[in-house]
């Protein structure tokens, strides 16, 4: 019984100290405009992704915004993230080419802004999705510079993809298009202004 008592006390004291330690070493959650004060430290920031750029090394660069300020977030590897997603990033603040950015350890998706839709759903009820961030799987039927025509079933749609060159894409590729579903009044037509077109 004595031994149980001793280990019980040790366990309880240990837990209390660890609890206090967790309080002290807790990663601070900061606003985006404060990051320059935290250089070299681990922080948590929250915001909405306004841009996603794959880097040449196969990593991901995100632009995180809180509506007023923007911060670059660098994450290793490809990430399953979309423009419009609300995320929390835990990582280290570092200085890169005169500006501060966050090297992400973990990215937690708080809110998925993207709606997964099928082309026929867009065709049958376009106004439901107008100005929404959407995510769409389809085939490429034509590539014309930064303009793609995609098809699924009997429906086709134009995708404008100005950010990255479309050289790596081919006619007939099955792709996942992420972007904003918009209306062009001059041409009386709907289109997607895409931030990412990925082969699947």
């Amino acid at each position: 019984m004595n031994r149980v008592y001793i280990s019980g006390v040790f366990a309880a004291v240990g837990l209390l100290v660890l609890f206090a330690l967790a309080g002290i070493t807790k990663t601070p959650e900061i606003e985006l405009n404060e990051i320059s004060e935290y250089e070299g430290r681990k922080v948590i920031v929250k915001g909405v992704i306004t841009e996603i750029r794959p880097t040449s090394g196969g990593n991901t660069l995100l632009l995180l915004s809180d509506g007023v300020h923007d911060v670059k977030v660098f994450a290793f590897g490809k990430r399953d993230l979309f423009v419009g997603d609300g995320i929390a990033v835990r990582g280290t603040v570092q200085k890169y080419q005169d500006s501060h950015e966050i090297l992400a350890d973990h990215i937690y998706v708080l809110e998925r802004r993207c709606t997964e839709v099928k082309l026929w759903q867009l065709a049958e009820n376009p106004f439901k999705y107008l100005n929404d961030h959407i995510n769409l799987s389809c085939y490429i039927t034509r590539i014309d510079g930064y303009r793609l025509v995609v098809k699924e079933g009997n429906y086709t749609l134009t995708v404008i993809y100005p950010l990255i060159s479309t050289e790596k894409l081919d006619k007939g590729d099955r792709v996942r298009v992420t972007g904003m579903f918009l209306y062009n009044p001059e041409k009386f037509s709907f289109y997607i202004l895409s931030t990412e077109v990925m082969k699947i």
Partner: protein
């Protein structure tokens, strides 16, 4: 893309050799090894030059090596856990029966049983995953519903763990330990740790090493346990043992596959699900069941990359970053999955005899050393490793874990109740999401 069988074979063998060595290093997690392999690719490039491999095939070949390492780890990592008491996550529970057999002079038998459990679960998991593909993804899409019922599985596991204790008093003790380790888990699992040597640190290692490793070794020191002479005979199976063994491997493999599918549910949880599902069985069957889980998880996470398109282990993340796995559509599996099964088969087939051989060698040696010395060596090693990987905060986690881990040993409650460290935080997270 076509790739020569000989190339994959060579890279798988290289991975196997690396895996056997790194798995023998106590505290070395397979994720660390795979990240190191990706970072230091130059030896691979030299080999590929000698074999005149095309550059574009390198990611697939490096992935073969990494998978080979991964599988070898699930076999060999029982050895440092059994002989030195330093458990990797997947073998925290398995080391309890293997260590206990070691003290009875049956260390070699324990290692062989573990290797056999792992091997047969590799065979079963490969066969099962081919058929389960059609249940998990299109057309049945069981994946989504499995995620929903996971919370009930966890609740069932906790209830069975407590309600099957021998007496109401033992139930009370068991639930107290479960809650205590749960609180411990909630505090430590999110604690940011930093290694004084810049090594990758996770609070899982010091906490599980404390709950299951250090506590076992300390209790040996306190009770002045001595080890009987090691016998070196192969495991003998009666007819009913064989039948029981099949049930153990199937239970382990199914639990492994189940936890490999659900995000955030780890191998250790798989072992506790398997242990509870398997019910009362002897130490030998427990070893087979728990080792099956460990290997099944590793193989299933590779399949899952292609079947549900998700990464469920550090190794799977590395492989996906290398080859960007395509989703398995239709009846025939993707070509790259078939290529990556070659290292699985090679590594599993070679790991079985090599694990037994190393087990035999070490049992022979260890029988000649005073057991108290080995115990002290194990204790010093755990403390040194925890400090190296996670600094002073890690030592505090280790000691607290050991104090909690000693409670079931002293009170005679089931030691698996310490798995509250993972079960309780997981349950809270699932309940929070639903």
């Amino acid at each position: 893309m076509s790739v020569d069988f000989l190339h994959i074979l060579t890279f798988s063998l290289i991975g196997f050799v690396i895996g056997v060595f790194t798995a023998l290093i106590p505290g070395m997690h397979v994720n660390t090894v795979s990240l190191m392999l990706v970072s230091f690719q130059s030896p691979f490039l030299i080999i590929s030059d000698i074999m005149s491999v095309d550059d574009y095939l390198m990611p697939l070949l490096v992935s073969s090596s990494i998978i080979s390492v991964y599988i070898a780890h699930t076999f060999v990592n029982i050895i440092p856990a059994t002989f030195l008491g330093v458990p990797e996550e997947g073998v925290a529970l398995t080391m309890l029966p293997t260590h206990s057999l070691l003290l009875k002079g049956r260390g070699y038998e324990a290692i062989c049983l573990s290797a056999m459990g792992s091997f047969f679960s590799a065979v079963i998991t490969i066969l099962l995953m081919f058929s389960l593909k059609f249940l998990l993804s299109d057309p049945v899409n069981l994946y989504a519903s499995l995620k929903e019922i996971m919370v009930w599985i966890i609740i069932a596991v906790i209830s069975v763990m407590i309600l099957t204790e021998k007496s109401p008093k033992a139930m009370l003790i068991s639930s107290t330990i479960l809650l205590l380790s749960g609180v411990y888990g909630l505090i430590v699992l999110d604690l940011p740790l930093e290694s004084p040597f810049g090594l990758p640190s996770s609070s899982l290692f010091p906490s599980l090493a404390g709950l299951f490793g250090l506590s076992t070794l300390l209790s040996s020191v306190l009770s002045k346990t001595s080890m009987v002479r090691q016998e070196l005979h192969e495991p003998v199976f009666q007819r009913e043992d064989k039948l029981s063994g099949i049930v153990s491997v199937l239970t382990g493999s199914f639990s492994g596959i189940l936890v490999s599918i659900i995000p955030g549910v780890t191998t250790a949880i798989g072992t506790i699900i398997a242990l509870v599902t398997r019910g009362e069985s002897d130490e030998r069957q427990a070893i087979i069941t728990l080792s099956s889980v460990n290997t099944a998880v590793s193989i299933a996470t590779i399949f899952n990359l292609f079947v549900i398109g998700k990464t469920r282990s550090g190794v799977a993340v590395v492989v996906r970053n290398l080859i960007g796995a395509e989703t398995w559509k239709g009846f025939l599996p993707p070509y790259s999955l078939l290529c990556l099964l070659i290292p699985v088969v090679i590594s599993a087939s070679l790991s079985l005899p090599i694990t037994c051989r190393i087990g035999k060698f070490l049992s022979e040696k260890i029988g000649k050393i005073n057991y108290q010395k080995i115990t002290w060596a194990g204790i010093s090693l755990i403390i040194a490793l925890v400090f190296m990987f996670s600094g002073f905060a890690g030592l505090l986690i280790l000691l607290t874990g050991a104090s909690i881990g000693l409670l079931p040993i002293f009170t005679g409650a089931r030691r698996s109740s310490c798995m509250g460290i993972l079960l309780i935080p997981l349950l809270i997270r699932f309940l929070g999401n639903s």
